[in-house]
Symmetry: C2
Subunit: 402 residues, 2 copies
């Protein structure tokens, strides 16, 4: 037995904390609990039966290849079908600009790995996706959060922060943004804000990480151009994912960016897992090519739109005065604002007793703020359970308000 | 476009090199080239048709679960069937001692992540698996190599090294060994050597990483007890893999160790990919439970035994005097020793012109030694192509000898 095990762990391991969300998810194992905590796609959105034929064909036509090792940057078929989708939108990308990743979480981690040394600065939103923040933190980064308004990350605050850091002799390694249906707020950046942030990034010569797993889940309005496309000049690394549009159980994502950065990510990925599972890549490439992907995605969007509407309906019906929320045009999340003097951590204890769960907003704030906010997932629960859950949540809020 | 991109990369990224093996593999894309370079399982070893029924049942019975997120430590079914196999051998392990990893390469990386800070010391074999060495190097570790004899890592040299480092005030973070059919040498440590290394590790209070992807591919003789089992007291972390016994295209591995270490690996894994693909885990759990795994493994072992025999036969027939090799009792690799004054890097240029490829032994030596050695994979090529390839290789060696 190792003595003083704690002593021999790396600095990174010493500072590791279990993800707050994963801990909350454990409390929601009880089937009585209606959980709005996870970011889970609806089980009914998965094309279970459609996959049978694709899998049988895959095994018949290229079974041995599907079970073998493959290139670290991903199989060509999948890279090509993904590129085609972006190229159709007018994006200027070639095969060397894209690598497959074992989930876009791996993409975030890889970007941390190739950019961050201990003590480096980086910029993220307030609030921001917890998995991104956690991945960056394992490298000992000093994260600086920028507040958001209804258009996403505030560019005036970003500008101030960049000058402030510059004055101290620091240049952040990157700016991390989630411009479409942001996790956790649901906010989408309009083009004007995207351009402002891009201009600042160029001026200060800082790469932007554009994390975009929800972009295709849009209920209404037009797709915004990606920052990658608005830039078109090597400033942006774009991360995509099939977790919300197909199935998270396949762990398939990708990164698009300047060749030199993608190449470093690929080299770093060799040490992480050599390659992403060939089998799931082949499956996804065939699924997208068959047209079933687009067909099913349309259905999923329709399902989620209804679930969002149903959820907002329940908010209107049950929430007491003083509670507000946003109404996102896509994605998986709603963000709820309690009166300023309330604490969503305290609310959580009351809520879980009433068998309803959510994620406290403060965990998404690298500065510990947001104590009066909470994230609500609307994609997973059925409409009935969602309405009942919101009723319970509203009753917990009322109790806490007293 | 980012100016001075090179400047903003992390130290880790600045020092990254593409894996020498992956670069060699590119040269072997030409179908004329007979490649002994990769560590690829034989395509004919994959149970392609048998998987159809399993996949159909999986989709029918738990399709939505198979496509959803799952626990970071892996799905319970797979962890349990793997544990059972070890428990049958008399190993004392419970569910908290095992986490699934997205390939055992991820296991190696995670151990680097939780143990290594820049400048830390660690011990590996000379030679050693390149993917392990590369993963550890990304953390800026100072690796100390220990020479091997026909029983594997030399315990007398290990002891000297540990005292030497202790004298300088250093304690290595771990000892990395591949005790069964080692990559690249094919050597298996006998129990006596395992116990010597274990005794030293205990005396100096240093964890052992036991990397064991080939152990079940044994052609003759009895399985050696794992160091984990010989220890049975929290000194050893054992890494396993389905890449050689089932299919590398699924990227499934696991780590077994003290609860506190497994827990840190799981927390670190949250940032790497949240979880290993649920779909491939469910597939593997069903495949093992069905009995097809053991049935197919028996066939694979028989195939590889024949391929090894065929390869050694070709060596005997074609190799000039002065060239020697080991005869491994399992695994995927043979190791060839040229006369001391020869250089396998020079040989490679001659060999590739004759359309045959291998990996130079020096890439497996963290001290740059082993220039007169080469690694030969015998699992991938057909018996005919293998014989032809060895003939070509022997002719290249004869040419270089002149």
């Amino acid at each position: 037995m190792i003595n003083n095990l704690e002593k021999i762990f790396s600095d990174s391991a010493k500072n590791m904390k279990r993800s707050a969300i994963r801990e909350i998810l454990k409390l929601t194992q009880n089937p009585e609990v209606i959980s709005f905590a996870g970011g889970l796609p609806a089980p009914e959105s998965f094309p279970v039966q459609e996959l049978k034929q694709i899998l049988n064909e895959l095994l018949d036509e290229e079974g041995a290849d599907a079970l073998q090792y493959s290139a670290t940057e991903g199989i060509t078929e999948l890279r090509e079908v993904l590129l085609e989708r972006y190229q159709k939108e007018g994006m200027n990308v070639g095969i060397d600009n894209l690598t497959i990743t074992t989930s876009s979480q791996q993409g975030l981690y890889l970007l941390g790995k190739i950019f961050l040394d201990k003590g480096d600065k980086a910029i993220c939103g307030l609030p921001s996706y917890l998995g991104g923040v956690c991945a960056f933190n394992t490298f000992g980064v000093d994260l600086h959060g920028i507040r958001s308004d209804h258009k996403g990350m505030r560019s005036d605050h970003l500008e101030e922060k960049l000058y402030e850091l510059e004055g101290q002799g620091f240049k952040p390694k990157f700016i991390y943004v989630i411009p479409d249906f942001q996790n956790p707020t649901g906010i989408t950046m309009p083009e004007s804000r995207r351009k402002e942030i891009l201009t600042l990034a160029r001026k200060h010569d800082i790469p932007i990480i554009e994390d975009s797993p929800y972009r295709e889940i849009r209920f209404e309005g037009e797709h915004q151009k990606t920052l990658y496309q608005l830039d078109n000049n090597g400033q942006v690394i774009l991360l995509g994912s099939l977790s919300k549009t197909f199935a998270p159980g396949l762990r398939l994502g990708w990164a698009i960016g300047p060749r030199e950065i993608i190449e470093r990510m690929v080299i770093a990925k060799q040490s992480l897992d050599l390659c992403t599972p060939t089998f799931t890549q082949k499956l996804a490439a065939r699924y997208i090519k068959s047209g079933l992907f687009d067909e099913n995605l349309k259905k999923t969007i329709e399902q989620y739109r209804k679930k969002r509407d149903n959820m907002i309906q329940a908010f209107r019906e049950y929430m007491p005065e003083g509670v507000t929320w946003n109404e996102p045009a896509g994605g998986l999340f709603l963000f709820l604002y309690l009166p300023y003097n309330m604490d969503s951590e305290k609310l959580f204890s009351t809520a879980i007793k009433k068998n309803v769960a959510f994620v406290m907003g403060n965990v998404f704030h690298c500065d510990g703020a947001g104590r009066n906010t909470l994230r609500i997932n609307f994609s997973y629960a059925s409409e009935e359970r969602a309405a009942e859950g919101i009723k319970r949540l509203a009753s917990a809020i009322k109790e806490e308000m007293k």
